[in-house]
Symmetry: C2
Subunit: 312 residues, 2 copies
Amino acid sequence: MKIAIAGSGALGCGFGYLLQKNGEDVTLLDNWDDHIQAISTNGLRISVNGNEETKDMKICKPNELNEEMDAIFVFTKSMGLKPMMKSIAHIIGKNTKVICLLNGLGHLKTLEAYVEKKNIIMGTTVWTAGIDAPGITHFNGQGPVELQNSDPDEKEAALEIVAILKNSGLNGVYSEDVTYTTWRKACVNGTMNSLCALLDSTIDKVFSSSTIDSMLTGIVSEFSAVAELQDGVTLDVEETVMYLKDLAVKVGAHYPSMHQDLANNRPTEIDYLNGAVAKASIKLGIQAPFCQKVTDLIHAKEDILGISSAVN
Amino acid sequence: MKIAIAGSGALGCGFGYLLQKNGEDVTLLDNWDDHIQAISTNGLRISVNGNEETKDMKICKPNELNEEMDAIFVFTKSMGLKPMMKSIAHIIGKNTKVICLLNGLGHLKTLEAYVEKKNIIMGTTVWTAGIDAPGITHFNGQGPVELQNSDPDEKEAALEIVAILKNSGLNGVYSEDVTYTTWRKACVNGTMNSLCALLDSTIDKVFSSSTIDSMLTGIVSEFSAVAELQDGVTLDVEETVMYLKDLAVKVGAHYPSMHQDLANNRPTEIDYLNGAVAKASIKLGIQAPFCQKVTDLIHAKEDILGISSAVN
């Protein structure tokens, strides 16, 4: 299968590498010159769950690839999805499947402007990754990569991608309700990410604070209300809060990505998490003051650090 | 007039010093051994608006003073008011006036448990002060010290204290509505203090952020609703937000006291500002989610820094 990875940061490289190892014809796409240069010259140096390998891989800028793909995995930051979709329009054919595993809310709507719904496959992943230097990445995980076709008639196509992921060692799983999974994951990021970024602290410390229940319940209640009204997804508040607290114990002394974004002077994805809930609540005629406040504070923090606002 | 200063930190020393200079018989009360020792041995070294002087002053622990006072100025931190009132019960006579210039909300109610309402004089001050070392303080200001009797029949008593303050160079002013002044000042502290503490930044930077209007309007709307329902005080939201923004320009690159509290591992006064509004809103059957969120986050920050919670 001809597969492009649209956005070949750490996660994109990890997926691309394992797919190619399984025999797929993979091309990495990215816009970071040093990274492209390093991989073109030396191959991708990647550590997968601690096992390091170096592998020759095709990599170029989106406009340099001139073939229709069978499948495209998008792996941008949330605010990079729209510009990426514009720059890869020429490699999307009538049957090109586009698979989106991004964190955050609202991506299906963005994709629908560029891809026929029948070709969109939405999903979530719990694998983690990082870039150590241009061309050098690590990739860790074993948890499921859950996928579901957006068009109810297209289950076969989703199952085909699930099978490829499974054969590649990426634990592909067909999801009967990926919208629920996406909302649940958004709750993780909308609490752990934003609170740790605001409080400049690790997950274990934030979750040991005396006000954690009030903060979690406040945020999750708003996610739950919007999920129900907008997407017909039922997120039980109490159950979700317990899930988050259990997860926090497992994750421990870890700074989530939004904290790392601020520390590295990069814009955060807050507009696709708490910000998306606050915005949706206005449309729905309900209120999401906790999410609004968190979004305001994170944007204020970005401004204070001199981080230019997210591209969209 | 026999005057005790109950809580002789930087503000208390400033008031005590100027009152004694005007001929009043002042005793400083405090519980900090090094500070008491330094002032007893070397006198109080104080800089008032840049003019430094050293002055012999009486200072002791609350239980060491055994005379009824004519007037007592309380200058504790908010959470220190209740324990201080307990420890000075023996110097409060039938006609002892107790003057409270503390920041924050709810202090009148605390005082009423220890002092007859006819003897309580509430007020606000915009003077600022700091402790440079035990026995060495600075004190700056020129703005009004506004006072009003809590019992409508006791205006004469308040006017007498106002006159003493005026003669002492402390710009005493009789206020026709000190409850309004207190709420307005609480809005200043409930926005500048809490936001700068949370965002680890100076007032000018926080007030230059793109989301400042949303944050101010969110918080001030809740203060306004509680002020109206609980105290019959009308705080116009738009006018107050404009006032805060003007004030921020004047104050500039300054870290407010709550930021300094966190930086020095001291508990903050959040429960007497945003926390008081959040708590009151529940009683009143309305909602104050912005204030609740800010309070939760500040308490989480205290917990993460290992600051033990406020005494009360």
